[in-house]
């Protein structure tokens, strides 16, 4: 199964973050960016996780995996979930 490469996963996590906070479009995001340092309210952080679930068609919260702090750590969770389900990670949101 062809799993997404790291940089593509990062880009799609950035996309999830910017969907919740469009003003971050002009802010450079990197793998080491700490999501809570982006000036998000707690409900916006929850919504980033929701948008990641949409983006990759994975279930993060139900498996209590929403403990990541950085984009890099989020990517590790996504990679683990994609590998487990053997899916290329094209969620409904990604497909639309």
């Amino acid at each position: 199964m062809n799993i997404l490469d790291s940089s593509e996963i990062d880009e799609r996590i950035f996309k999830a973050i910017r969907k919740v906070k469009p003003s971050l479009e002009s802010v450079p995001l990197t793998p080491s960016t700490r999501i809570r340092d982006l000036g998000l309210e707690s409900i916006e952080v929850l919504t980033v996780v929701f948008e990641m679930e949409e983006e990759f068609n994975v279930s993060i919260v139900d498996q209590q995996l929403d403990t990541f702090r950085t984009v890099e750590e989020a990517r590790a969770v996504v990679e683990k979930l994609l590998a487990k389900q053997g899916s290329p990670g094209t969620g409904a949101a990604a497909a639309s």
Binding site: V20, I43, E44, L46, T47, F50, E53, A92
Partner: protein
Amino acid sequence: MTRRVVVTGVGCVSSLGVGAPALWDGLMLGQSAIALTRFARGGLEAQFPAAPVRGYAELDHFQPDELAMRDPFAQYAIVAAREAMRDAGPDNAYPDPAETGVILGNGSGGDGTREDAAIRLFGEKRLRCNPMLVPRTNSQASVGFVSMEFNATGPSLLISTGCAAATHAVAQAYLMIRHGLARRVISGGSEASLRLSVLQAFDAARVLSHTTCRPFSRDRDGMVISEGGGVVILEDLETARKRGAPIYAEIAGVGMSADAHSSVHPSEAGPVQALRGALKTGQVDPEEVAYINAHGTGTQVNDRVETRAIKTVFGEHARKLVVSSTKALHGHAFGAAGGIELVATLLAMRHGVAPPTANYLGPDEECDLDYVPNSARPMKIGVAVKQSFAFGGLNAAVILRRDIML
């Protein structure tokens, strides 16, 4: 403590356009915003006469980051409140945020967002909900956002009495100021329920027109749904005078009642009781009332019962005062209706012109008052009534007096 309460600012988003001037121009031109409109959701579609908000783009009023949490019903309240606060003038007479409250009405909060969520959940079988669904759709979201916008920390609440919500909200705001719980209240209502699910539900109850809204007219066949926001600034007379604010009118009195009779079939007694209550608390002689901005939905039963109630309260004077329903022009905005129509009434008093009841074809046997058919009419309006009635048999009336008697 009893304070006198005046209106010093108005703001509006309606199917006649963004801003109170757009509402007034639309009312004076007499060109209805109602048009046959197609609604499609979840693979289904239907057409209804409707009056969506015109000329509104959310990015004209909000930053992109603000949109996720703000359903259109909250946006309309905020935009109308901004205009009303600007209209009321400099607010340095209110240095203590605890003196300003926010009391708004709506019928059903974020109905549109809930419709989208239901399609996702039950239609697409996707179990997870967007975490912002609750704060975005809560009925009180409009009140919360307006309080944040103006750092108003005084008494703030949401009144959800359907089509009477905004008028009930203004009545509560009046009572808050009158009895010293606040010195200024941002009040009125907003609604954004123009969705396929809502239209189908109202159509099932056989209250929607399939032609257009023609209140009090022969051949009327129902209401037409619209949306928007209507907000007024209420403050105590003393502060308003001290700061030299232009005053639209004094809220002379308010009345409220329940029919305690039927969920859907209005009684005459309920509106009569609300109207008489408003006249009594305002110590207004019925013969002073020059203009009534009616609930006037355009359904057979509402307009018949409302006409009867006016005749019962005013007797012979019912033939002298004039009544109009502006819903023929801007549609029925449910929880925003009383707010938009109160703005229309205040502008009518200021300009000395009664707005027309548009789409009027001729008298009905049971609706035989002067409804200002089809063309606006210049006239002095010293005392006016805004009344609203809701499913559940809940009624509210507000009496406005133009000349402030000291």
